[in-house]
Symmetry: C2
Subunit: 366 residues, 2 copies
Amino acid sequence: MRKPTIGIATVAAEAGVGVGTVSRVLNGSNQVNEATRIRVLSTIERLDYRPLRSASSLSKGRTDAVGILVSVITRPSVMARLVGVIDVLSDAGLDAVVFNVENRAQFERHLSSIIDQRRVDGIISISLRIPEERVTRIRKLGIPLVLVDNSLPNFPCVYIDDVAGGNMATKHLLSLGHRRVGFIGDNEHTALGKSSSEDRYVGYLMALEAAGIEPDFDLVARGPHTSEAAAALTSAQFELGQHRPTAIFASSDTLAVGVIKAAQHHGLKIPDDCAVIGFDNLDISSILDISTVNQPLLESGIKGASKMVSLLNGEIAKPHREELPLDVVPRGSSLGIQRNNSTKLYGVVEGPIGLQILQRGEELVS
Amino acid sequence: MRKPTIGIATVAAEAGVGVGTVSRVLNGSNQVNEATRIRVLSTIERLDYRPLRSASSLSKGRTDAVGILVSVITRPSVMARLVGVIDVLSDAGLDAVVFNVENRAQFERHLSSIIDQRRVDGIISISLRIPEERVTRIRKLGIPLVLVDNSLPNFPCVYIDDVAGGNMATKHLLSLGHRRVGFIGDNEHTALGKSSSEDRYVGYLMALEAAGIEPDFDLVARGPHTSEAAAALTSAQFELGQHRPTAIFASSDTLAVGVIKAAQHHGLKIPDDCAVIGFDNLDISSILDISTVNQPLLESGIKGASKMVSLLNGEIAKPHREELPLDVVPRGSSLGIQRNNSTKLYGVVEGPIGLQILQRGEELVS
DNA sequence: GCATGCCATGGAACCGGTTCCGAAATGGGA
DNA sequence: TCCCATTTCGGAACCGGTTCCATGGCATGC
């Protein structure tokens, strides 16, 4: 014997039935007599038969796999969305094939691969803007596509209103009496076409205008999406002397961490000397007590993947386009001590933010 | 026309060649005349032909996909390894099919699915211990398996010596003169079979013994893998009065954050009143200036995936079993101010750790 | 001029499931 | 007892590539 490969035919022969019957048993058809089913199942067990996915895919005409394109996966916000997506797909019996996109070239390569090799049934794109010509192609080919944290005409998508978010964040700072509000954003995403940061900046400008404040472009800066870069940019603003900002809106929590580092570096107390608000409500912002704009990250993944599941079932994604809610989460980095429900330590210790950060009383469960 | 499906046969007919030739062109065989190749390629272009992955898989007998089992993906350490794995696989032209494992039931389900449905060519397991019977099965079936952050006889793996790591961390604290060193670990991983935390605990005990210190089990505690839980456990230790620990080894950075929260809650200054060291060298530990044990996370993924690529190419994974190096990264949470290269702010401001944390001068690039 | 051998090529067999159609078996009703 | 509907089943055709073998053409060597 050179090929001990056990296929559906072998099982059929052993069990004394036709291949069709075995197939029916495998797929849980109810067109099978109970006794027969048992006989087939026991034969499968005995021969240790394992169906071959690709053969099934070929005849069924679908792969039961979904391609997931994610922008720099290491970003915590992206990560959270991805988890939501994977969990939903798994539950639906779909394989989650992940493509990590870190630069334009990689993006193009992965897109080609996905589109031209017909390896997946659908595509979920997370925080990425797909180039126009690709979109056209995808549309023409009729490949199911769902956007998470982005939006595209005629495709199901889950997104937030970044402009509104930027507006909310800035208004929060303005409402605390600040007039010189700085903006620290990133310019990285632009490389992959998506720029939440820019949209949030627009919201920032709108809020200023609504408050009758003339924007000061010395208080606006962009750089790579790292806290180090943000710290450097912020540092420059703090050196403006009396023209320095008294509050800063960082377009993401990661950047907000950098802003705070810079403030400490300049001996500025937070929030008294400079209030800070970030965006995303990552774990880190909770740990460091940074005010932020909360957006439902995990949920965005869940909803996006659910839409994909619907599409693949031939249904129409229920809310075709879905905008998720945002809300400001005020914390110590903007409100400071004068806040309210503080633990006893909270009012007692006078000190820089670092302290408050770590003391803000989570109830310690014992 | 009811089926406009364009297959290799259509292309062959259109180009006036045989299917074999088209296939050869697609696979870059050099057995094809240049003129013919061009003709076929242009036909492919003209018809917008796209080969079907599953058909190819079926005849080739392989899927060119690798299954990745990851324990709770959201853990930053796991995440980092995953990124390494995905990047290497992508470069090798292999699909990365990710299975997120959050509990025992899910684990079993995914394992069955992977093993019994023959959907992937190999399995990479990250930070998970595969149940004995599954291992037996995998071995018998000859499915390529690579372990990352774990080890199993006769399978290629990339791992660290957690016992040694725990030892190093504890020794670091002992070397600073501490005698009452506490341990905060987690018990979650146990649910999935893997327990780095326990191994690190063993290292902790060994270090104590080597120093001639009798372990005090009031200073040992375990709980869920969250900083909140760690804070609660630590809090209890701080209430031991004069018997409280003067230093704590947390088996991961996430837990170390909790330890620090608890210290602040109790008005203890770090590192003066209590030194802390974590494990993993996550971003957060750098931001919060927490001493830690560094392990090459991204690299573990890269090396693991490389081994898988070798295996699938029929080669033997080069270093079959590979132990990655560990090293203590001393930071403010254990060394404190008496350190050395501090910025000017560093020595000036007297205060709790929170301050130092955020002031420790990273050189701010301008 | 003929044997030899390489290159390029056509195409049938094959990979291992799924599906559909026709048929056999079963059972109920007239 | 016969007819028809229903349930269950067998198996050929099919999905769309890959591979191997046979073949034809052409150049080289004697």
